[in-house]
Amino acid sequence: MSKRPEHQAPPEIFYNEDEARKYTQNTRIIDIQAQMTERCLELLLLPEDTSCLLLDIGCGSGLSGAVLEESGHMWIGMDIAPAMLEVALEREAEGDLVLSDMGEGVPFRAGSFDGAVSVSAIQWLFNADKKSHKPVKRIYNFFSTLYAALSRSARAVFQFYPENESQLELLTSQAMKAGFYGGVVVDYPNSAKAKKFFLVLMTGGAAPLPQALGTEESDSLQVKYAKREASKNARGKPLKNSRAWIIEKKERRRKQGKETKPDTKFTGRKRAGRF
């Protein structure tokens, strides 16, 4: 059976008390959620030093909300899982909570929010958990009501886990249909683990998409490959454990967004004999 939570049960059932408890105790989950919310906030491009009213879609236990609070923003969260909202109450989240299904629409007045964030939630929209659910219709309904609830020039950033290309395409096409501009930003595209998808949607006019992390050298990628090919033909792969081999390996890790020590004159040097 697949490991993806979306394939196991509807969200309001999957996120039961046991699952919700993980979100208060598991420090790894807490860290990841916080990191992704910070990145979402960065992509939101809110005016500096002003506290805004944000919508947190799929707020769950309020982990993402805690990051929003730290940045001085007020938030209103919506989620479908009562057990998760209960945990948010226990954590004494400062934001306000609403029990609501995003596929049914965003139940807020026009122009209410300065921005919207969502961490690992919208992939649930691809499911048809009830007989009456039509995913495409639910996605469109969600985006069009969200568009209305945002103020002009506001942004919405969703971190999510798409299963395949066609999901990405469906999501962006429905968002465009609802009136949004934008697209998907992929952080660390060369890494299997650190790779993260962010759907960045803008309401006010087309603006360039933000730069993804870990892709700074993407322009020269072609040149680099050419260079590498040439050197491969000339000398073959660098000798294992040699300095060149270590530097190449570190470069690869850096591209994957993993923590890597800088290259120095000590890199790949043998220790003195008496050690």
Binding site: S51, G105, P107
Partner: protein
């Protein structure tokens, strides 16, 4: 549920409901929680609010004392902002119901969380 949320919340997701605003409040339990006063946030949010709805909501909960019925164009006055802050962020409805003005559908509020989930037949 804070009154700032009530001021934004609608029932327009219901089939056949156009505005769904404002939702009528029937509160059985109201709680006051202390929230840090942020005058800048409050003055930024005031133009976005439907002030009449806020005043009506505060009045129905018995917290409208000292709150003007209309917003003066100049609302930098600290006293006024403090009062608005109190009503918007500190007054919370713990238990009660919200009623859709058009369809009469009731949404229960329990432990301060309004339940806006719809049944299959009510979805647009």
């Amino acid at each position: 549920m804070k009154l700032i949320t009530h001021n934004m919340l609608t029932s327009k997701c219901l089939k056949g409901v156009l505005q769904g605003y404002p939702l009528a409040i029937n509160a059985t339990d109201v709680k006051i929680t202390e929230v840090d006063f942020n005058p800048e946030f409050v003055s930024r949010i005031i133009p976005k609010l439907d002030w009449n709805v806020l005043w009506g909501a505060a009045d129905s909960l018995g917290h409208s004392e000292g709150l003007p019925k209309t917003v003066e164009p100049k609302y930098e006055d600290q006293e006024f902002l403090k009062k608005a802050h109190h009503v918007l962020l500190e007054v919370e409805i713990e238990e009660g119901t919200l009623t859709c003005p058009e369809s009469g559908r009731q949404f229960p509020i329990s432990k301060g969380i309004p339940n806006m989930l719809l049944t299959e037949a009510e979805v647009q």
